[in-house]
Symmetry: C2
Subunit: 213 residues, 2 copies
Amino acid sequence: MPSPPKVPIPTLERLATYMRMLVELSSNGSATISSAEVEVCTGVDASQFRKDLSYFGMFGKPGVGYDVASLQRKIARILRIDSPQPVVLIGAGNLGAALVGYPGMAEHNFEIRAVFDNNFAKIGRKLWDTEILDINDLESVNREIGARIAILAVPSSAAQEVAEHCVRAGMDLILNFAPTHIKMAANIFVRDVSFLQELAVLSFHAGPSDDHS
Amino acid sequence: MPSPPKVPIPTLERLATYMRMLVELSSNGSATISSAEVEVCTGVDASQFRKDLSYFGMFGKPGVGYDVASLQRKIARILRIDSPQPVVLIGAGNLGAALVGYPGMAEHNFEIRAVFDNNFAKIGRKLWDTEILDINDLESVNREIGARIAILAVPSSAAQEVAEHCVRAGMDLILNFAPTHIKMAANIFVRDVSFLQELAVLSFHAGPSDDHS
DNA sequence: TAGATTGTTAATCGATTAACAATC
DNA sequence: TAGATTGTTAATCGATTAACAATC
């Protein structure tokens, strides 16, 4: 079997950026875009953009550029958001509420299909339109939903245990908002959203001997 | 002037991870830790950890390891969170509320000193303990606070304008939660928190021909 | 056609990993 | 001292950038 050229993670991250831009452009009625224009819109180097797409085959016409609509469709298919991608959210706290209420989620075709919590005071109540379910029903509910993606918006102290529970319920792709390292088998894919890290990077540059160069 | 060896961004991100770990450890009463143990706790390669610290000078004793308390102090100083780091938050929506209510912020010595919004219905009301201020008072209020870090929790459509306003108010380090590219002068440092990107990376791996290898 | 812009290869850059002499 | 673990150098790896022939 010829090993499929594997795609760098930074490339995948940028695909999401391109997607965003294309959605905006198509609502503006733009028909085509060049890699140079992409650079202006997104800050991603034109060469980088073309290289990123090259991992997936051909997309543009030399001398013309890229068709906005078709490029959008192709990237959506690559990222598996050409049809709604079901997602399960664990944790109905402040952050969970913000995520459920966040319009960008649906705009990108991610569908939060269920919200779980372990707090009896919350179970049965609603977060926006979605009823908060008992975490103990995770397996049975996900047998219906079939989500592979779990979003963890729980305290650090609970993250490891909850992640393992998600795996038992059939999920293998985990987005972790808790500021802690989750240990998982190699076939489980974990990504962390850690704005404290980003804040630290900024804060470092608040040093007096730092000129941002 | 001998050019100071500049520190890779990934190294700075990992410093925040080490910080987290050290806080946990010191509450457990651990006195020292080896780079091998750091690897177990955080998932960061032992060699990587030692290399990261090497950018800042010596921290450990060969044959013994690192003193937890002193390492914590040193990293805190590097990241400018040895004393409270003032931060301004723009946007009192769901996400803003989650951020203000997030205990990890204070634990890491980031202090949200003021919250701003442009919505008259919100201005004057309280977000937890903090009064929501008029965005038009940004300059005058920050003359008091002297924050260099701004957190943007505003819609994409407002992000560029608000960022420019922050710069006029004296801030030069911007944490952007809006899923859009902000164009700034080279002396302004912008970091994006983009969980949609992380979600896209996961979603890509939901492909049928993907085995996470 | 001439001008523009792609897809791809090669060169550059930078970060991670491995190895080991120095040190406690 | 002997064993353990650091700090640092060198080797590896992978991503970004630049250049250009191919193409519309």
